[in-house]
């Protein structure tokens, strides 16, 4: 097996984690990773050996994700989705147990895709601002404001969930 392919294989767990945080549903997330790997392999020459393919792969995957989210928005397909598709996604993903985890995953899904990606790249994947801004293709200032707003939004959503939970308990 050649060196490049071995290096790419080694990045799959990280790519899957990033995809899962963007999409939540396990199969859909793996579909995104698959699209990313397919695209990467036909463009193998774009990656300079000698450096980790991580950032290159994350960049490819992020653009696939954002492009599709934009297309979905433009075509209005989200509004026309059959309920079944939504219900399938609603099933709690296995492995991701615990109320706290489920709540934060739900909240993360509810913030805008741009903010979600920025926050995840830095807070979960551990990239620096410079690296993340570069991969997302935005100025560092934009990245920072997305992270700040993303965190605020996440906090608000989590507080709402906690409040609703408290109210449900009171009503019982």
């Amino acid at each position: 097996m050649d060196e490049k392919k071995a290096a790419i294989l080694g990045e799959i767990p990280r790519l899957r984690r990033y995809a899962r945080s963007l999409l939540r549903d396990r199969d859909s997330a793996d579909d995104l990773v698959q699209d990313c790997l397919e695209r990467a392999l036909v463009r193998l020459d774009n990656w300079q050996t000698g450096e980790s393919p991580r950032r290159w792969l994350f960049t490819i995957m992020h653009h696939l994700f954002i492009d599709q989210m934009r297309k979905v928005n433009r075509r209005g397909e989200a509004a026309m989705l059959p309920l079944e598709a939504g219900e399938a996604v609603a099933q709690p993903a296995e492995q991701l147990d615990g109320i706290a985890s489920r709540e934060i995953i739900n909240a993360l899904q509810a913030i805008s895709p741009d903010r979600r990606a920025a926050l995840v790249m830095v807070a979960i994947e551990g990239f620096s601002y410079a690296e993340a801004a570069n991969m997302l293709g935005v100025p560092a200032g934009t990245l920072m404001s997305r992270i700040a707003r993303g965190r605020e939004e996440l906090r608000g959503l989590l507080d709402d969930t906690a409040r609703r939970r408290a109210i449900r308990i009171v009503e019982k």
Binding site: M1, K5, L9, P13, R14, R16, R17, R20, S21, L22, L23, D25, S28, D30, D31, L32, V33, Q34, D35, L37, E38, L41, V42, F65, K71, V72, N73, R74, E77, A78, A79, M80, L81, A85, G86, A90, Q95, L96, A100, I104, A107, Q109, A110, V122, A123, I124, S128, Y129, M144, I147, R151, E153, L154, R155, G156, L157, D159, D160, R163, R164
Partner: protein, 263 residues
Amino acid sequence: MIRRDFSERDIHMALDGELPADERAAYDAWLDANPEMKARSARFTADREALRSAFAGVLDEPVPARLRKVVLGEAPVKTAVPRSRWWLAAAAAVLLATGGFGGYFAGMDGIGQEDPAEDRLAEQAIAAHVIYAAEKRHAVEVPASDKDHLQTWLSNRVGLKLVAPDLTANGFQLVGGRLLPAGDSKAAMLLYEDDKGERISLFVTAESVENAKGTYASAQDGPQAVYWLDKGYGCAVVGSLPREQLAVVAKNAYGQLLAGLAS
């Protein structure tokens, strides 16, 4: 020690390892002197830990064979299977996470602004919100303490049976309401406030002949309206909340308004 003013921005930088090392001591001192900022920093740190642990397990999962095969060239790169539909799931997830109305945001962007009647309702509602939600003492004509009178009065003037929705589940309390002009007709405005002072308003008019729903924002950073029009009434929920949060509140408000109209 470096002397400079710190702000909330530095909380994010410190958390993300982007604060220069020689500013760290001054930053820590600033945090200690600002309990509110310190609490915020602790909260963001806790949220980050929760995020990390929620996804930590993914790294330990075995890599699915289909992904290995793509890299190892054991499967044709361009397969005959239908294009993967992960993005549909992404859109569906947005719908779900926002209680079903996020989809309207996603879907109505750019196409929800073609119908003048919808625009008119949303613009009137936003204009009213901008003016009155900013008023401290004169935001409403009839306060929530006089809720029964408020509902009867507005119902009579607008010509709809209005029941002020209870939005406490979303953290919002009724402040009160007022009567407003809406084109040739009248509209009721109900104002709500959360414990942080964030305000949203409900704008209801009986003048409508069509069915439509969507979202509308008049300015880039201004408040947004989530609206519904049906035969005989139109309703908009306006606020500067994050879109998804506004959608959740709007859905709750709308459900109760409809139940009230029919009661």
